[in-house]
């Protein structure tokens, strides 16, 4: 079966996020009340797996392979079966 996976890869807390900082100052300039903006990457993909649990596990391993453990954390945001 095929699953659609959404994976977020974000900077660890405490690691400087220059992008987030720049976006935040622009948003504040535009009068948005936004704070602590952090910018990360989102990966969307399709994976083959026998079950949702298996797809989750695959997504987890992919996160591990792609995130830089020195600076980043990842979250498996969603796993959905594709029809």
């Amino acid at each position: 079966m095929k699953y659609h996976v959404t994976l977020l890869i974000e900077l660890k807390d405490g690691i400087l996020d220059p992008q987030g900082r720049a976006v935040e100052s622009i948003l504040q300039g535009l009068q948005f009340k936004a704070q602590n903006v952090r910018v990360g990457r989102v990966l969307e993909m399709e994976v083959e797996a026998g079950s949702e649990a298996e797809a989750s596990a695959v997504a987890h391993n992919i996160g591990k392979a792609l995130a830089n453990p020195v600076m980043e954390v990842f979250v498996v945001e969603a796993v959905k079966e594709l029809v």
Partner: protein, 736 residues
């Protein structure tokens, strides 16, 4: 407090005798925070405790030197009221941990050192060392190469300073411990030279990014061996922000141009601790810092974290009396924090306040006066035997033609375009000799007819087999590279990357390297004006070869009178300065073809070296020579091939010598320079060489699309296209 001492010593890793010295200097036991201030300031990185006595050997004076070692960067006068500031700095350990950010922050850090002198950075260079590309280790090497190159490009391109040169070597001894050194060059008006100084009672401003928990303890960390047990000590990764870097640079330079500041200091390794205590110490004053005023990125940072943070993109500015508001307005214009976090005081102490309490108070001289060490060195056993190996019995390969293709395709000799194409090498529109076009980069100075030539060099194979001779070669070669484009070498900066100085071998390599540099400096008349020492590049199972990365800066009075390395005109004559025979010892050929790293690096006659360099500069200055190239790794055949590649033009040349053909084609020797000259000037050029007392030979003529070499007993021909194919590909596979 007393009771907590033993664990505290364990925690900080300060040796007992240094602790006793601290107690003596203070006249009391230090508190925890105070002890940490000593820990970072007395680290090798900040105190040079193992290298300072040795560095004293280096000649530091010259007529053009405005500022020698001791400030953020060295400064050399270049005429018409202009001066150039430059320095090299290592970021080896951070780059091993996180290649992209490690390299990026290395670039950012060296830029701030140049800016702190009042100079506008105009060029960046880098000197990189990696392990093997082949075999199972290749994956990690490629990961590091990609990351480091990306980091350098990311920071340099965005901040808008061209990366105009550098060098890259692959050698198995760097497998566990890559080296990333960055060099920056800046231009200033002589009267705008700034130092790290403040007068009494002045507010001291913190300008730039907010402070976070970045790289806590990084300076101390950089001085420790990287090992598994150390894992927990790893600081949180520092992230470079070239955008903030650019704003900080503009604020600082504008403040200097408008004469708003009396002193400037960058905040580099050991952050607030080092920048403020050194500023006070150099000014013969004390300083009081209020941590509550420090702009913070994260909540709840304690004094220790604030004092040790290595957050990037921060500067220290001391306004002139009455200019405080103007400085604040200037920073606000660029959207930066500018806060008077400290002020200078008469008692020569570094006093730190936190929430109304004095949390540390130590004499500034005590932080600066780390005990220094002179040790006994001893050469690595077995190395002498390797160096004295008899290479005369080495079989002469039958396929001399194919060897050139192999050498051109070897990682140390192949095209660097896949790397430098990722660097903006033209921003600023001053780069008149771009990477790949010449042995050194040339930057023109707008508004004058002058130009600067710059190159960084070091041959790890030479230094491994003979640290002293290797260091001499590094300086000779960097200077030669500057000379062959037409620049007169003025001074140099050196990044000394070595092993653990506390071992006899590590100390031997460091001291021999410095001794070699000192000897070559004196002979070539080149002072050192700045540099960096990165020690402890060693682990339980490895030690890097001593790697003195020497960055030479030279002046062209007429930037139009310069040479590049490509043969451009059919019919021109190719002339070799020096002997056609090279040495096999420590050569790239010996390694690539025979799999050996042995023998001695070629002998170096510094008098002849200086003469050869003066002669080629003379020929370029006269406007007779527009193409020149030094003969380096890979020997004559490789150098000639490199001259054919830029414009796809070949040559037919005769090498008259009875040396073994492999030594003739691929052997190495210093002081050798190839150039081309048209018929009209050939005789005169030869006369110049004779006047300099230089051996030389006219090898033949430029033309066609083949490189043909006539040896006494055979003739070898390569299509230039075939040479190009071999040379262009290898690094493309690493950096597609």
């Amino acid at each position: 407090m007393e009771g907590t001492l033993p664990p505290l010593l364990q925690e900080t890793g300060i040796p007992l005798h240094e602790y006793q010295e601290i107690v003596r200097l203070l006249g009391r036991e230090p508190g925890r925070l105070e002890l940490y201030l000593f820990k970072v300031m007395w680290s090798e990185h900040c105190s040079y405790k193992n290298s300072r006595p040795l560095l004293k050997l280096l000649p530091k004076e010259g007529p053009a030197v405005l500022q020698g070692p001791g400030e953020n960067a060295g400064v050399v006068e270049i005429g018409e009221g202009w001066a150039v500031a430059f320095k090299i700095e290592s970021h080896n350990h951070p780059s091993a941990v996180e290649p992209v950010q490690g390299a990026a922050t290395g670039v950012g850090g060296i830029i701030r050192d140049i800016v702190a002198m009042g100079a506008r950075p105009i060029a960046l260079l880098n000197s990189l060392r990696f392990g093997k590309l082949e075999g199972p280790e290749g994956d990690r090497t490629r990961y590091l190469v990609r990351g480091v190159v990306e980091g350098i490009a990311h920071y340099g391109n965005a901040i808008g300073i061209p990366t105009v040169g550098g060098e890259v070597y692959f050698h198995p001894d760097y497998q566990e411990n890559p080296l990333v050194n960055a060099m920056c060059l800046g231009l200033l008006r002589v009267e705008e030279l700034k130092k790290s100084r403040a007068s009494l009672g002045r507010p001291v401003y913190y300008v730039g990014s907010k402070t976070g928990r970045d790289g806590i303890g990084g300076a101390a960390f950089a001085s420790e061996e990287l090992s598994e047990e150390n894992e927990s000590k790893r600081p949180s990764v520092q992230v470079g922000d070239p955008f903030m870097g650019k704003l900080t640079l503009e604020v600082t330079l504008e403040a200097i141009r408008r004469d708003l500041v009396e002193g400037v200091q960058d905040m580099g390794a050991a952050g607030l601790t080092s920048s403020l205590s050194e500023l006070a110490h150099k000014s013969g004053l004390g300083i009081e810092l209020n941590l509550d005023l420090v702009p913070k990125r994260e909540a709840g940072m304690n004094p220790l974290e604030l004092m040790l943070s290595e957050s990037q993109e921060r500067m220290v500015l001391v306004p002139r009396p009455g200019k405080e508001k103007e400085l604040e307005a200037l920073a606000a214009h660029y959207g930066l924090d500018a806060v008077p976090v400290a002020h200078t005081i008469a008692p020569p102490v570094f006093r730190v306040l936190h929430q109304g309490q004095v949390v540390a108070e130590v004499p500034t001289f005590a932080l600066a006066d780390c005990p220094t060490y002179t040790r006994e060195g001893q050469e690595e056993p077995g190395l002498a035997r390797l160096r004295e190996a008899d290479l005369s019995a080495l079989p002469i390969p039958s396929d001399l033609q194919g060897i050139l293709l192999r050498l051109l395709a070897s990682p140390n000799l192949c095209s660097r375009a896949p790397i430098f194409e990722r660097y903006d090498h033209q921003v600023g529109t001053n780069t008149v000799l771009v990477p790949g076009k010449g042995d050194a980069a040339i930057l023109r100075i707008k508004g004058t007819r002058r130009g600067l030539a710059v190159k960084v060099d070091a041959n790890p194979r030479y230094s491994k087999l003979s640290p002293r001779l290797g260091a001499m070669h590094a300086l000779a070669e960097a200077a030669r590279n500057v000379s062959v484009v037409g620049g007169k070498p003025l001074a140099y900066t050196d990044g000394l990357n070595c092993g653990n100085p506390e071992t006899p071998q590590g100390y031997f390599e460091l001291s021999e390297t410095i001794a070699g540099l000192a000897e070559a400096s004196a002979a070539l008349g080149l002072p050192v004006v700045s540099g960096n020492v990165s020690l402890y590049n060693e682990g339980p199972n490895y030690r890097i070869p001593p790697t003195p990365m020497v960055g030479v800066v030279g002046l062209l009075e007429e930037v139009e009178r310069r040479a590049e390395l490509g043969l451009r005109k059919a019919g021109e004559f190719v002339v070799l300065i020096g002997s056609p025979e090279g040495h096999l010892g420590a050569s790239e050929y010996l390694w690539v073809v025979h799999g050996q790293e042995a023998g001695s690096p070629p002998p170096l006659d510094l008098t002849m070296e200086a003469q050869a360099q003066a002669a080629i500069r003379n020929l370029i200055e006269r406007g007779w020579v527009h193409t020149a190239h030094d003969v380096a790794e890979g020997g004559l055949a490789v150098a000639l091939a490199e001259m054919c590649l830029p414009y796809g033009l070949g040559a037919t040349l005769e090498l008259r010598s009875h040396a073994r053909p492999d030594a003739l084609l691929y052997g190495e020797a210093p002081g050798r320079i190839l150039f081309s000259v048209d018929q009209a000037h050939l005789q005169q050029a030869v006369k110049v060489l004779e006047a300099y007392g230089l051996p030389h030979s006219v090898l033949g003529q430029v033309g066609g699309d083949h490189l043909t070499l006539l040896l006494p007993k055979e003739q070898i021909t390569w299509p230039v296209e075939a040479l190009r194919r071999a040379w262009e590909q290898p690094l493309r596979e690493v950096l597609p």
